[in-house]
């Protein structure tokens, strides 16, 4: 089977699972949303107290365990880390703030679009602009540095966290919060979410599909390998929604579930998310998969995403169907400035080091 078709099928399975999770109870156009799901988990752990978005999403547990198992099975699991962890934490932090102003990670953006929500088209434009900006830094030598081997146990931490979350989800101790209304109360059955999540995790580990990587490769090296996966997600999700979720299919900008029609901030939020995704080397779902196969840097990024999501609600930054908050607008602007300063300083330092190295060789 040729690579394009294989990637399309891998993506297609994820698109189908997105439609199934929507059908079986997840919130509107949120069959899968990595940013929203980490936000829900942050809420369930009491890191924020927005009562309508608190739930330990079994899909995330599934992504981690599925990717972990497949990476062990095919020998990809490798405990590694040490590549600018604190920068990655804050890139993850601001990535999710952009995503929660838009209301969705890049993967949900595709699923929203595939159920007729045209606001996601504005988000996609912003995401592409963000990726384009990020690429300008890559071209000029941006790098967060090489990772090195870490103690093996480091790689097992994320799967262990996933197991602990699963125990909390099943046992429901008093200190875990579960929404009784709103998006946090809308859930596909636990076992179904967990199993489908594991399939998604396994496929993403195997295929390496990444929303940011696919658009980055098109712009940077004119390669469409990963884009076929994204196309698979969109096309199959669209078809599956028309069959399974036809009553929710709504083409237009208004009255979309868990979304708002404020174009400029849908755009700007995803610009921020796009820049962060390229600077991190992957969108939130890709970070989750890497974290599950032993990458401690991606693990730190996931923590940044979770904490950022908690702050997004504590500080009133996250949007809602009512619209965008003033705090959210300010946070997106600050976020864009901060990540550009980070990227600029990294590039400047890298070039300075290169120059010194070359001069050193010349003088030798």
């Amino acid at each position: 089977m040729n690579d394009k078709r294989k990637m399309f099928i891998y993506g297609g399975i994820i698109g189908l699972i997105g439609a199934l999770l929507l059908k079986f109870g997840n919130p509107g156009n949120m069959g899968i949303c990595v940013a929203c799901f980490y936000r829900d988990i942050a809420g369930a752990l009491g890191l924020h107290r927005a009562e309508i978005v608190q739930y330990i999403r079994p899909e995330i547990i599934g992504f981690i365990l599925g990717a972990f198992i497949i990476s062990i099975a095919n020998g990809d699991f490798k405990s590694r880390g040490g590549s600018s962890p604190l920068i990655r934490f804050f890139l993850g932090f601001f990535l999710v703030i952009g995503a929660l102003v838009f209301l969705g990670c890049p993967l949900r953006m595709i699923l929203r679009l595939a159920n007729g929500d045209l606001n996601a088209l504005i988000g996609l434009l912003g995401y592409l602009v963000g990726i384009f900006i990020g690429i300008q830094f890559l071209k000029r030598g941006y790098t967060l540095g090489r990772n090195i081997e870490q103690p093996k146990f480091s790689g097992y931490i994320m799967p262990i966290v996933a197991i602990v979350l699963l125990i909390f989800l099943i046992v429901k101790p008093d200190f875990i919060f579960f929404s009784e209304e709103g998006p946090g109360s809308m859930r596909a059955p636990i076992l179904l979410s967990l199993i489908l999540g594991m399939i998604v995790g396994g496929i993403l580990q195997k295929s390496r599909i990444c929303t940011a990587g696919s658009f980055r490769d098109i712009m940077l090296i004119k390669d469409y390998h990963f884009f076929w996966g994204i196309l698979g997600i969109f096309v199959v999700n669209l078809i599956a929604n028309l069959i399974l979720n036809f009553d929710t299919f709504n083409l237009g900008f208004e009255n979309q579930p868990v979304a708002h029609p404020v174009h400029i901030w849908n755009f700007m939020g995803m610009v921020l998310t796009g820049i962060c995704s390229v600077l991190l080397g992957g969108c939130p779902v890709r970070q989750t998969i890497l974290a599950s196969e032993g990458d401690a840097d991606a693990g730190i990024t996931v923590l940044g995403i979770t904490i950022g999501a908690a702050f997004a609600h504590n500080f009133g930054l996250a949007s809602s169907p009512k619209g965008v908050t003033n705090n959210g607008k300010v946070a997106v602007i600050i976020g864009i400035i901060v990540v550009l300063v980070i990227a600029y300083s990294v590039v400047k330092e890298a070039n300075l080091k290169n120059k010194q190295k070359k001069e050193g060789v010349r003088n030798a």
């Binding site: 071209k139 000029r140 030598g141 790098t143 195997k206 090296i221 390998h225 990963f226 890298a350 060789v361």
Partner: protein, 83 residues
């Protein structure tokens, strides 16, 4: 897709772009692509090069001090693995 091809990998994306420019100037038929799945589970950028030009290209890299990470020979097996 060819059954056998070779790739050069890089630590930094910019190095791939510098490599591409240098190789095009030297008129080697190379193409940038995502790192093949067989090499790594990462999704960085690699350069596909003809295997018979390996020595020439590696010498040119040394001469011009082009930073590269590794060199791999990729063979597509007939058997298809799904998982």
């Amino acid at each position: 897709m060819d059954d056998v091809y070779c790739v050069v990998t890089f630590h930094v994306t910019q190095h791939a772009l510098i490599f591409e420019k240098a190789m095009k100037e030297a008129q080697y038929p190379i193409k940038l692509m995502p790192v093949p799945r067989q090499v790594s589970s990462s999704c960085g950028t690699a350069a596909k090069i003809p295997c018979d030009k390996k020595e020439e290209i590696l010498n040119l890299c040394k001469e011009k001090a082009l930073p590269i990470e590794g060199f791999y020979r990729i063979e597509h097996k007939k058997k298809k693995y799904w998982f």
